[in-house]
Subunit: 407 residues, 2 copies
Amino acid sequence: MGRISHLECRECHTQYPAERLYFCPSCFAPLDVKYRYDGVRWTRSLFQNAPRSLWRYLDLLPIEDESKVVDIGAGFTPLIKATRLGQELGLRNLYIKNDTVNPTFSFKDRPAAVGVSKALEFGLKAVGCASTGNLAAATAAYAARAGLRCYIFIPREVEPEKIAHAQIYSPTIIQVNGSYDAANRLAAQAAEAYDVGVVNINLRTYYVEGSKTLGFEIAEQLGWQTPDHIVAPVGSGALLHAVSKGLEELEQIGLIGSSRVKFTAAQGEGCAPIVEAFRRGSDTVEPVEHPKTLAKSLAIGEPGDGIYVLRKLRECGGYAEQVSDPEIVEGIRLLAKTEGIFSEPAGGVVIGALKRLVEAGKVDSDETIVCLITGSGLKATDSLIPYLPRPLTTEPELGQVAQIIGR
Amino acid sequence: MGRISHLECRECHTQYPAERLYFCPSCFAPLDVKYRYDGVRWTRSLFQNAPRSLWRYLDLLPIEDESKVVDIGAGFTPLIKATRLGQELGLRNLYIKNDTVNPTFSFKDRPAAVGVSKALEFGLKAVGCASTGNLAAATAAYAARAGLRCYIFIPREVEPEKIAHAQIYSPTIIQVNGSYDAANRLAAQAAEAYDVGVVNINLRTYYVEGSKTLGFEIAEQLGWQTPDHIVAPVGSGALLHAVSKGLEELEQIGLIGSSRVKFTAAQGEGCAPIVEAFRRGSDTVEPVEHPKTLAKSLAIGEPGDGIYVLRKLRECGGYAEQVSDPEIVEGIRLLAKTEGIFSEPAGGVVIGALKRLVEAGKVDSDETIVCLITGSGLKATDSLIPYLPRPLTTEPELGQVAQIIGR
């Protein structure tokens, strides 16, 4: 008897055994992994000598056989007290969860590590995904470490730089003569036809569990407390939902007193379907046909977990904010300038959203706030260059530098 | 009475108080920081609840006032058992020290964190460096976090992409109308004239101490043992020297039984002055006038610590290997393909050197070997693109994919 109890439909609550299911066969809604919790005496001291990675929470993750764990050291990333950024914004208890320092430099290490481990446990020989960004790199890296074949499906129109990071891990890159949707569809068909574990499709039920470790870590790093407020970047909505699920699980086993957190969902203008729905007071998300935002990793026009994010925001009294491209760049630069952390555009969205919350008086200066910074700015440096100031120039003479330094 | 005992000349062994000295006033050789060690009862359990960063070793670092520590979470990076790479090379106890996951994505976080902290302790108002690479980014980031002004000196010929990472932290970039040497000279003059803490010049004595934490961590992560062999990338030679110093300090305080390690110094062909000197059996290093290697971060034609690296290699029975550009790329790809770790070219040099050691029968298959992977490949993705294979292409039809996947 393992640690997973069953899979449960998020809508009709039908229960299923923990097999290779990725949607509810009766109502097609997503499935959540439910755990037994009875094999472990849950105490905080459990974690004192635990591995310094997300695998410290193995007992709360959907891998039954520890020998299948694929580990490059993802997770347990720093939670940094952001004193200088806080001063800038008038916030006294601001924290940055720095997920840029994962092995493939984004939070996608978390779900990819769990998804690829689960593929090993299921005895699959190949994994894959349709992605050109963080997920492609993470999936290819964990497949490499595991020694599994890996197929990355990409659309026709992709610049070589976008895919180079994933390519370095030597997956098979399959460029589909069509759109991103076409690539995604082909990946889903290949998953069925050739028994490929496409992590965010037919392994999704397990894969998303990796992201909840962000919630576990935040609580543990705050001394087994939840913050008052978490600002999360939202693409599909899976991350926000997973972090919330993680905190609820910690409450359930008594490691934290309450999982009550206010969430803010942050999106980029030009692809903010969840923010728009929240503002309309609607329960349904209108797809965005042509996403257009600097925050490419959030440019998901039809967010799979959109309705669950909306439910969560309403239940917790949270907010939804959208941020323009210039605000994204300003957010990236402000975070770097005050705290020395270089974020990809998704993190600029988060800082921009936080700034908007402050300006609108939606946060209290004493609230404990955690900003999720989910990927490294090195992945998008080129797109930032147009916004950077030109260097000062000088002749190589000390006297000339006086004007610059000697003030 | 603080933890620093004194500064000591590496050549004439004259002792000086721990002030702002960066070379021996009598013989111009480098100075090393020496510690008292008597304020602490040194036991391994000291580190059980220590911070998960290089600051866990604060008692062994040259900062007297803990309130001056500038911390973004650098260090205590994963030491990964490299089973698949080991199999590929016929090595049973191979480890990767993954310093790509530091806050600015290279090992330079370590000396920059210590250098900028020391600048705060000295009461300086500004720091800086002459660099276009890892050091520029790290110095700018720690200055940002500390709230210090920061001046980055760069030469005339630099592509905007090279400097963008540092720029994001909003230092003042000073582009000197001249060569890298001219930029370096101007930085040194400004350090003197305007009381700027140029981390790798007038703060060098303290700055280099940060790098020895790599040695501390390797020993601690191996269960307070030294490995048999460390393969280190060598530019100035400061890193190899510092790692060796760190292990000697651990032996001195009794945390490890012996600091005996065989070192291999790895350089890129086209800038391998230390390898050349080692092969000649010479004690002196002939400068390389025009360094030319893919491993830009190692392209230092006149290595400051070259003679100390040579001494160390001879004393420990170590090796020196140089690696061509194609071998560098092959090393990067091999590491990524087997272990899911994406290194900058310096790490490709290390893996290439290891491969040469194996082929020459210089390592035993049971030796415990640690490869220092010192920076993220995301910093040099563009230079790798020409070496990557083209993606396979397909129409968006399942039948077409059969040829690729269905084997």
